[in-house]
Subunit: 475 residues, 2 copies
C-alpha cells in the first residue's frame, strides 16, 4: 500500500501573505544559509551516535520483544495501566488518543484489546478513585511501571502502592504476573527491584532522554498492547528520517520548521501555539509541549553564557478554542506563531441532518459532512488570523494513521534538535528540574545529604523558612 | 456546618521574596490607590444591573426549576450529553471534573447518577465513536443542547445529527423526551425550534456572556443531573460575593488578584500560568483560560484607541508538568506569573507501601500519604521558581467541595471584571470572534450577504484565494 505523507505548509508565515510581520524572500534565504552548517552538525552528531533517539525506528529486536510481550497478555489482560510521568507518559497518552477511538475504554463491545489507563500524577483523589474500581479486577490487570532510574518520586510512590496491593492479594508470584518494568537495562533502583522480584522487563535505551523516548519500549509497549500497529508507526518515522536528514534546507521540513520558529522567536513571537483541528491529535500537542519546553527552555548557551531563552509552547484545539482563545489570538499582542494540525480525510462520513422547517437559517448545514465543517472552521480561523498578520504554519495529515503519526513524531523530534542548535543551547538536558526534585526529597524526609555541606534535613528547613505561610498575605 | 473558605496567598510575588522582580511595598500601595476607583466603578456597574452575572448566585426560582428538571430524569436517564461549545461547555466540564470522581463514567457500581458526556467540538471521528456507542442506548439518554442563539455552527450541527437520530428512532415524541434546550428565553433559532417541537427548556439569562454563565442554567443543569450540590456551589459564590465587593482593596481578594496580574503584565510578564496541584481542579484552569483570554484580549481601549493587550493564560498541572514545563519556567524568559491551586485536605488517605528490601533508597516514601507528597511537590516547585525570582500566587482550597469551587468561580469572574477595568478595555465583548464565524458560514455555502456589498459566496471566494494551497510552500 502506498503511504501518503504528512506535509509542512509555510506560505502563511511569509511577507506575501502577512506583510511586514512575515518572512521575506531574503530573510528566508538567510535562514537557509544559517541552517546549512546546523543541518550538517545535526547529521554528524547522529553519525557519531550522540543522538541515539534517531535510531529508534530501526530496532527490529526491540519490536519483536515488545510484540511478544504484548501478545502474551492477550488472553488474560483486560486493563493495562501505565505508571510513569513526563516522557514516560505523554507519548503513551498521545499514541492512544491519536490511534484508538474516543470511546475505547468505555465501549466494551467494540474493543478487542485491554482498556488503557496512564497515571502521570500523584493525586490521591484520582488514584483512589481508580484503585476503588480496579481493586476487584486485579486478576485481569497488568501494570507497566516506567522509570529509567526508579527514583522518580511520583512513579515510585504509585509503584509502592500497587506493589503492596498485589502482594496482599496474590503474594510474590502476583508481582511477576501483574507488573512489567520498563527501566534501565543494567543499573538503577527499578532495575534492582525488577531483578530481585523477577519482573518481566523492557529496556529504556541508553542515551535517549525521556522526551525523545516515545518510539522506544517506553511508548511502544502500551501502544502494542492496545492494538496499535507499532511497525507502521516506526515505518512512518523511518520515512520521515530520510526527509529530515536532507542537506538541502529547502527540502528538509524539520530544518524549515525549526528556522521559522527561530525567526519568529527572535522577533518577539515567543509563544508557539499548536492547534490541532482534530480531537485525536490533541495529545500530540501535549507531547510536543514537553518536547519543546524542556529542550529549548534554557538559561545558558552551550558556551555557558546567560541567555534565558525558550519559546513557550501552548496547546489549543480547534474548533473548540475558537470560542475560547481566538479573541486573544487575533486582538491581543502579536506575540504568537501558530501551528495548525489539519486532517484531510477523517474516514467515516458523518452527515448533518435536515434543519426543522421553522429554522431555514440552519439549512446550509444540512447534508454536509461534519469533516467539511471542521476543515472550513480551520480555514476560516486561519483566514481571520492572517487578516491580523499573525503567522500560521500547518502540518497536513492526509489521514490519521500509525504511519502519519510516526512521521509527525519524528519530524518534531528532529525539528527540536535543529532548533536547539539554532538557539545555540543544549536541547538534551534539563538541569533546572533537579532543584525541585531534591527539594521534594528533603521535604519528604529523605535521609542523607543534598550537597556536601547541606543535609536534606537542613535543606528542608531552608525551604520551609522561605515558603512558610505568612497570614498577613492571605486574603 | 461551618464552611471553610478559599484564600489567595500573595507573599511570593513581593520584593521581600523575589527581590527586584517582585512588588515593593510602595508599588503595592500604588496598586491599592489605582484600584480604589475601579472597585467603586465595578460595584456601581453591578448596582446598575450592567453585570448580570453578579446576581446568578441568588436566583432561587432558577435553582428550583433546574432541580425539578434534574429530578424528573432520575428514573430513566443513564447518559446525559451536553452539546455546547466555549462558555456552554467549559464550565460544565470543570464542575464535573472537580466534583465527581475520576472514574465516574466508568464505575457503574459506584455511580448513582447518569454518565456525563460534553461534546464541544465537531470532530467527526470523536462524535462517530460516541454515536456508535450511544446508538443502542438512546432510550436511556438525554441530550442538553446549549446555545443562546442556536446559530452556533458547531452546536447546531451536533444538534441536527442527534435530532435526526432521535426522529428516526422515536418520531417527534422522542425529541420531547430526549432533548432539553438551554437557550434564550424569548428569541433566536433554538428558542424557535424548541417551541416548535415542544422541547423542555431552560433560559440562558439575559446580559450574561457565555464565559460568565457557568452559575446559570447553562452550567447547573448537567451538574445537578450528575449529583453535584448546586445550592452549595451557589452558597460559595454568594459568600465570595461579599468579599469581592469590599471597598477596601486590602480585604478584597479579587481586587488584589487583578492588581497583581495587572502589575506583572505591565512589566513584561504577559503569560499567566494556572497550575492546579490537583487533577480535580485541572479543568477549572481550562475554564479560566477562556474567561481570561476572551475577556482581556482586546485590540482597543474603551475609548477606542489601539492597544492590542491581553495576558495569555496557560494551564499546567502539578506534579505532572514539573516533568514537562518547569525546566522552561525556571530557566526560560522571566515572562510568567504563576498561580498555583493547592488543596489542603484531599479527604481519603492513600498510604504509600514499604519499599522492597533491596531498595532502601525509596523507604523515605513508605507510610507517607500521597497527599503529603503532592503538597511537598508543590512547595518544592514553588521554592525552585522563587529561587529564580519568578512570581507565584497560590489559591488555597481547604478542601474540594461544591462550596469552595463556587467561591473560586466567583472570585475569578470578579477578578476578570476588575482586571478589565484596570486594563481599560471592555471585558464583556468578543468582537474578533465574528470574522471567523462568518468565514465559516461563507465556506459552508450559507446564502445571503456578509456585508452590504459582499455576498457570502463572494466572501468565500476571497477566503479561498488567500488560503489556497500553493505547493511551492509545501515540504
Amino acid at each position: 500500500m502506498k503511504q501518503e505523507n504528512i506535509g509542512l505548509y509555510y506560505k502563511n508565515v511569509t511577507e506575501e501573505i502577512i506583510g511586514d510581520e512575515g518572512i521575506s524572500q531574503k530573510q528566508f534565504e538567510g535562514l537557509a544559509e544559517l541552517s546549512k552548517p546546523v543541518i550538517r552538525q545535526i547529521n554528524q552528531q547522529r553519525q557519531a551516535g550522540e543522538t541515539a533517539y534517531r535510531d529508534l525506528p530501526y530496532k527490529k529486536e526491540t519490536i519483536k520483544e515488545i510484540k511478544e510481550l504484548a501478545g502474551s497478555l492477550k488472553k488474560t489482560c483486560e486493563n493495562f495501566v501505565v505508571l510513569g510521568i513526563g516522557g514516560s507518559a505523554l507519548g503513551n497518552i498521545a499514541l492512544q488518543t491519536a490511534l484508538n477511538p474516543y470511546m475505547y475504554n468505555l465501549n466494551d463491545s467494540h474493543r478487542q484489546t485491554p482498556r488503557l489507563f496512564v497515571f502521570d500524577n500523584v493525586d490521591p483523589m484520582q488514584f483512589a478513585s481508580f484503585l476503588g474500581w480496579v481493586g476487584s479486577r486485579l486478576d485481569k490487570t497488568v501494570f507497566n511501571v516506567i522509570s529509567k532510574s526508579g527514583q522518580t518520586a511520583e512513579t515510585a510512590s504509585q509503584f509502592l502502592i500497587i506493589r503492596k496491593m498485589l502482594l496482599d492479594k496474590f503474594g510474590p508470584d502476583g508481582l511477576r504476573k501483574h507488573i512489567i518494568a520498563t527501566t534501565d537495562a543494567k543499573a538503577g533502583t527499578l532495575r534492582k527491584i525488577a531483578d530481585g522480584e523477577k519482573l518481566p522487563t523492557l529496556a529504556v535505551p541508553d542515551g535517549v532522554g525521556g522526551r525523545f523516548s516515545v518510539l522506544s519500549a517506553v511508548g511502544l509497549l502500551s501502544a502494542a498492547v492496545c492494538g496499535i500497529d507499532i511497525e507502521q508507526l516506526l515505518a512512518g518515522a523511518a520515512d520521515m528520517d530520510k526527509k529530515v536528514s536532507d542537506d538541502d534546507f529547502y527540502k528538509n521540513p524539520a530544518a524549515i520548521n525549526a528556522a521559522i520558529n527561530f525567526h519568529f522567536y527572535n522577533r518577539g513571537k515567543r509563544l508557539s501555539v499548536m492547534m490541532p483541528y482534530s480531537y485525536a491529535l490533541k495529545d500530540l500537542a501535549d507531547w510536543y509541549r514537553q518536547l519543546w519546553a524542556e529542550s529549548l527552555g534554557k538559561a545558558k548557551t552551550i558556551a555557558g553564557n546567560d541567555v534565558h531563552i525558550g519559546p513557550t509552547p501552548i496547546k489549543a484545539i480547534g474548533a473548540t478554542d475558537q470560542h475560547s482563545q481566538v479573541q486573544l489570538y487575533r486582538e491581543g499582542p502579536n506575540d504568537k506563531l501558530f501551528t495548525f494540525l489539519q486532517v484531510e480525510n477523517f474516514g467515516d462520513a458523518l452527515k448533518i441532518g435536515q434543519s426543522p422547517d421553522n429554522a431555514p437559517e440552519l439549512q446550509y448545514l444540512a447534508q454536509k459532512d461534519m469533516a467539511e465543517l471542521l476543515n472550513c472552521e480551520k480555514m476560516a480561523t486561519e483566514y481571520a488570523l492572517l487578516k491580523d498578520k499573525r503567522p500560521c504554519l500547518t502540518v497536513i495529515f492526509p489521514e490519521i494513521s500509525a504511519y502519519t503519526v510516526g512521521q509527525f513524531i519524528y519530524l518534531y523530534e528532529v525539528t527540536t534538535s535543529i532548533a536547539g542548535a539554532l538557539f545555540n543551547i543544549n536541547a538534551y538536558d534539563q538541569p533546572a528540574v533537579e532543584l525541585g526534585k531534591h527539594a521534594t526529597f528533603a521535604l519528604m524526609g529523605k535521609e542523607g545529604n543534598f550537597t556536601n555541606s547541606l543535609s536534606y534535613g537542613q535543606f528542608a528547613g531552608q525551604i520551609r523558612e522561605l515558603t512558610e505561610l505568612d497570614k498577613h498575605y492571605l486574603v
